[in-house]
Every structure is written in C-alpha cells, then in structure tokens.
Amino acid sequence: MLKALLRKQLMELLSSMTRGSKKSNKKLTYIVLLVCLVMFGFIFFGLSQTLYDSFVPLGLLWLYFAVLGGISVISGIIGSVFSTYSMLYQAKDNELLLSMPIKPSIILFVRMISVYIMCFIFQIVVIIPAFIVYFMNNALTVQGVFALLTAIFVLPMMTLVLSCILGYLIALLASKLKNTNAVITVIYVLFLGLYLYCYTQMSSLIAAILSNAQQIGGFIKTFLYPLYLFGCGAKGDALSLALFVLIAFAVFALIYAIISHSFLKLATTKKGITQKAYREKSIKASSPFRALLRKEMKKFVSSPIYMFNCGIGSVMLVVVLIFGAINADVISKLTLLLNKDVFSLIACGGIMLISAVNYITAPSISLEGKNIWIVKSLPVLPWQIFEAKIALHLIITLPAVFIASLGFSYILKFSAFECIAVLLCCALFVLLCALWGLYINLKLPKLDYVSEAVVIKQSMSTFLGMFVPWAYIMLAAALYFITGNILDETVFLMCITAITLILCFVFYRSLKTKGAERFNSL
C-alpha cells in the first residue's frame, strides 16, 4: 500500500513538471532543470570557496560545514515552506484517500516525502558545491563520502521538520480562525518580509560571519547544536555525525507523531459558515471582458499561494525603489564615477528582471482545472479568455513597473527621453511576459492537479514563464556588451524595445491562432 501511495505521489510530482510534454520534450525538461541546478550550484560554489578560504586558516573547518549546512536549510525552507501547507493539508485527493483503508498517518507520511524531495532539490545546490570545495582541498576519504551522503540525505530531513512545523502551525491557525485566507496571507507577508530582509542583508551577513567567525561558532555551538554536530561530523568526527543523524531521525519521528496525531482533524476541518442570508441588491451589468477579468481577479486574490508566488514582483519593485530612495546619495555618487548613460540600462534591466518574477499568466490556464468546461461553454472566443488573463497580469504588474521606472528616473536624474525609453521598454517587456506565460501554459497545461501549489510552484510552465524572460534580459545584456561601443545607450534601449514589440506581436498572433486552437482542444 505504501508503495502504491509513494508511486502515486511521485507520479504527481513528476507529471507537474512534464505534463503535456512529448517524450523528447520531457528529456529537454529534465535537461533544463539540471542546467538551472548547475547554475545555482556555481553561485554556491563561489560562496563555498570564500568561506573555505576564510574559515580553514582559523582552524574552523567545522564552522565552514555548519554555516553552509545552515544556508542549505534556509534555502530548503524558502523553497518549500510556501507549498507545505497546501501539499500536506489541502490536497484535492484528501477525501478520496481518506475514504480508502489507509491510515491517515500513512497519507501524511507520503505527502511529507513530496516536501522532502522539494527540500532535497533546493539543498543539494548548496551542499554539493560545499563538498566539492572541500574535496578539492582535501583527499577523498570514505569518511568524507559518508559525510557527504549524510548531508545530502539527512540534512533535508531537518528542513522538512521545520517546514512541516510551519505548515502545521498555519493549518492549526486556519482551523481556529474564520478567515483562513487572511491568516495565510498575513503569515506569507511576514515570511516574505523576513525573506526580503535576509536577501537584502545577505552580503553584510556573509561579511559579518567572516569577521566574527569565533563568536558565530560559539553561537552555533550553544543554540544550534545539531548544526554544530553536523559541522564536526562533516569534518571527520564519526561520533558527531552519528549523533546528528540520530537527532535528525528523532526530531523527524517526534514531529511526525505530533502532526499525524491531528492530521485527520486538520485536513478535514470545515469551519462553520456564518449563514449570511442573501439580500437582493440592484444588479449592474457589465461587459463579458469585465466579467472574465473580475473572475480572474477573484481567483487571484482568493488564493494566497497564487498571489504571493506570482505577484511578489510588484512588492519587490516597490521595496527596491524605497531602498533606492533611501540610498539616493550613494547612487548619485556612483553616477558621477561611472558613465551616467549606462544607468538607464541598469535601471531598465533591473526593473525588467524583478517584474518577470510576476508570472501570473504562466499557471492561469492550468488553474482553470476541472472548471475549464465553464469558459469553454461560454459564448466567447478563446482570445477573449486570454485577454482577461493578460489584463490581470498587466493590472498587477504595470503600476509597480511605472512607479519604479518613474522613481528611478527621478533618483538617477534621467532626461525626459531616457525616462520615456525606460518606461516603454519595461511596459512592453511586461506585456511580453504576460503573452509568453500564457503561450507556454497552453503548451504545457496541467488541468488535473491535486494541489494548486503543484501548478503554481512546480510546473514546467511557471518555471519557463519566469526563467525564459530572465534569459531574454541576459541576452540583451550580452548584446549590449557586444555592441556597446557602436550604439548609444538610449538608442540601444529603443532597439530592445523594438525587438520586444516584435516578439509581442509574434506571440499575440500565435495566441490568436494556434493558441486558440490549442485551448479548444484542451
């Protein structure tokens, strides 16, 4: 039975990545994933090298492993926490599985395996480079390999435990309070704030770790003892490693026991709904477009996981602008030191990069799910349905893009022409992202999802929905370095705007023709 459930869970996880793909495309999907993991691995390889060079001369090899272990745990939590609650407690097959002769604790265990796999993927990009750096400077020993395997397979258990505790607390709160979505939203906002704070302080945090190695070491020994054990174990102390493994399994068993005790209750809780009798009000008729847009908007705001994964870019743009405004003096000095004109490109690239974090259209077709019959049976063209989805993307993203563009134009003292060029380029890029997201989701839809988190966070269409626009910006940057001496910055920006406009038109045509056909065949 456990085997069957595990198979189902793995199929669910894999199908979220490759659904709708042909066999050859599936291979490509895995290759793209691998390339991304390797890219992130390179970033952490650089960090590992820096930490290794700083800690080892001080005789703090254990701290090197402990710090990177800690970073990998944080990376795993960031990657999994937003979906843990929905994966554990809100899966659509809850009732189906609970009606079968399966212990709820087994269902929970299998769901936890999914979270474990997510943690595992997010953590290996940190852990493997850390050990590569270690093995580059030290001989490859059996003990070292054993420590590596422990780090790869046991460390994610710690992350899983922390992620599950958070998911459990959210579920507990949601079961006690009436407005679940508001509760989850507040928790997500708090977590997002913490995440953004850590992210903006990353370089100073690393610098602080490097300059206060001894104190940090003392702190880890006292308050984060399992990490200390992990560090010592990875360094070569077999007893510490064994103790770490023991603690990891014990903590996992304890948390599993606590969560499984209340799993059935939390997964099946339906809060009493206050009977609010309907009172007839005057009805205001609106156009089909507005009705479809309103429907998209309602879907967006009713799902915290959709809102925060796909709309986070708008918040980040405003935060970055505030950060820029606070540090306006430093930026002004920088403009004096460097070629001032290049700042319009940097600002534009930065705004585009952050705005692409909003991938609202990329899961929008999949999110129709079993309700897709409704829009398909309505007397509207597929393009009208697409229009509403694109409009939602623009409504959520464009205001923040405009505010950021105008704000940075003011801070960086752009000329009116530069300001318009940045605005235009960013706005068209947002439109391109919206069109691309829809295009790729039509190619790779997943309508039979079990959890929204799977579609929003783990599907190939959302992955490509965000990373392909990023690749486009990188390509534009590379183009600038090639043609930098030939073209003026603003002219270059206008060229990119023109290319973006052409691409928008290409995707618009494709969506209207092939996209509509594809939608009809879903």
């Binding site: 609010k276 309907y278 009172r279 005057s282 008729a285 089909p288 309103r294 019959w373 049976s377 007397p379």
Partner: protein
C-alpha cells in the same frame, strides 16, 4: 434546433462517437441513453463546443458550431454531470458572471435570478461561497445559471443526479416549459423511467453508435423502455 450530422470523435483507436446523426426539433425533449462509456458525454460535449470532433457537423438553430461557435454557444446552455463551479465565487457572483458573459440586462437578470433561485429554494444561499455548497446545491446553481440567459437549447448531462425529489420534479416542469415556449432539450440519463415519462424522442447509443432512435412509441412500442434497452444490449452483444 439541433442537427448532428455524421459526428465522429476518436480517442486514439477508440471511436467514442461513430457517425452519429440526430435531429432535434423545437419543442422537443430528446433523451439520450446508453451504458457507461457508450459515448453520451462525448456527444454532448461536442454539441456544446467543449470538445472538438474529427468528422461531421453540428448545427445549432441552423448555425454550424465549427464555423461560428460563439453564436451557437450564445443560444445554448450546458449543465454538466459534475457541476465543478468556481469555488472562489459566491452563488450570486457566479450567476452575475454568467449573466454578464451572456449579456443579460440588469433588470431582466435580477428578475430571472429571483425567479429561479426561489423555485430551487437557493435564494438564501446565494451570498455563500460555492465551496460551502453541497453537490445538490451546486447542481441547482448550475441549473439556475443555465436558465437565466433563456437559452433556446439546453444540453444536460445526467441532470437529475444529486437533486432532491422536489428539485427533480421542478426541473422536469421547467424542461417542459422551455419546450412549450419553442425551445428544445437534449439530455442524457440513466434513469429510464424519467426518460420514458419525460421525453418526446429518444436515442440509444452503444459503443459510439446510435443503435435506435425515434419517438418514444417508435423506440419502445408496447414494452417498457427498460426492457427495450436491456434487450438491445443483449442483442448487440450477441451480434
């Protein structure tokens, strides 16, 4: 009102609908019966423009669904067997959404919503989220949504599943009312007694093919529809 000509739909090697021909006139209630997997839902979904088909033509009030799907859809309403509606909307929000898309005027819409939600005793629940509805309530809401834009043709897939006896009775009356006013109804059902009492015409489908169709008298003669249906099943199995 509805003309299906040579409809064929294939899934891989299996023909879910194999050269189906049906003609439903104004004022007719047309029943569609067959065992599970016979091709009823495939045919119904093709008629509603939800499913693309390989061969044949479907005309709604003389308009080809292939050539002008929007015009066809504006004339029909579809009630699925499993009413998966938007859980994130309230009942009234869903009805207004449908009303807006079908461009039903505000006053007319208000009156129709009141009329049908009163009939199905749903008025009190319209401000609740659909996620809090039972299966039957969702089914009632789907029916109300289908009726508020006054379609000429109503396509229903197992419409009585999940409805309480009173709602079933009300729906049957409403179906007759639609036909009396010049509309037409095409619906699938497994409840043969209902089909026998309600339908003017009936079609029996098996393995994607219509094995018998016509008026109720032509199809069943003096026997009961249940007997005719079961005998046909045996005959075609032996053939």
């Amino acid at each position: 009102m509805l003309k299906i000509v040579g409809l064929t739909k294939t899934y891989g090697e299996k023909k879910a609908a194999d050269n189906i021909n049906l003609h439903i006139n104004k004022g007719e209630i047309y029943g569609f019966i067959g065992h599970n997997g016979a091709g009823k839902t495939t045919t119904i979904k093709a008629v509603c423009g939800i499913l693309q088909f390989d061969e044949g033509e479907i005309y709604i009030d003389g308009v080809s669904i292939k050539n002008d799907p929007v015009k066809c859809k504006s004339k029909l309403a579809y009630i699925p067997d499993n009413p998966d509606l938007y859980d994130f909307m309230t009942g009234i929000q869903y009805l207004n959404f449908v009303g807006d898309v079908f461009e039903v005027g505000a006053d007319k819409r208000k009156a129709l919503i009141k009329k049908y939600s009163d009939i199905f005793e749903m008025t009190e629940n319209l401000s609740q989220l659909i996620s809090s509805y039972s299966h039957g309530m969702k089914q009632k809401l789907a029916i109300i949504a289908a009726f508020i834009h006054e379609p000429k043709l109503i396509i229903m897939d197992e419409p009585f599943v999940g409805l309480d006896p009173k709602a079933s009775y009300t729906l049957k009356q409403m179906m007759r009312e639609v036909c009396d006013n010049g509309g037409a109804i095409f619906f699938s059902t497994h409840v043969l007694e209902v089909a026998e009492k309600l339908c003017d015409n009936i079609a029996i489908i098996k393995n994607g093919q219509i094995i018998k169709c016509g008026t109720m008298e032509q199809v069943k003669g003096d026997a009961s529809l249940e007997n005719v249906f079961l005998e046909m099943e045996v005959e075609t199995n032996n053939a």
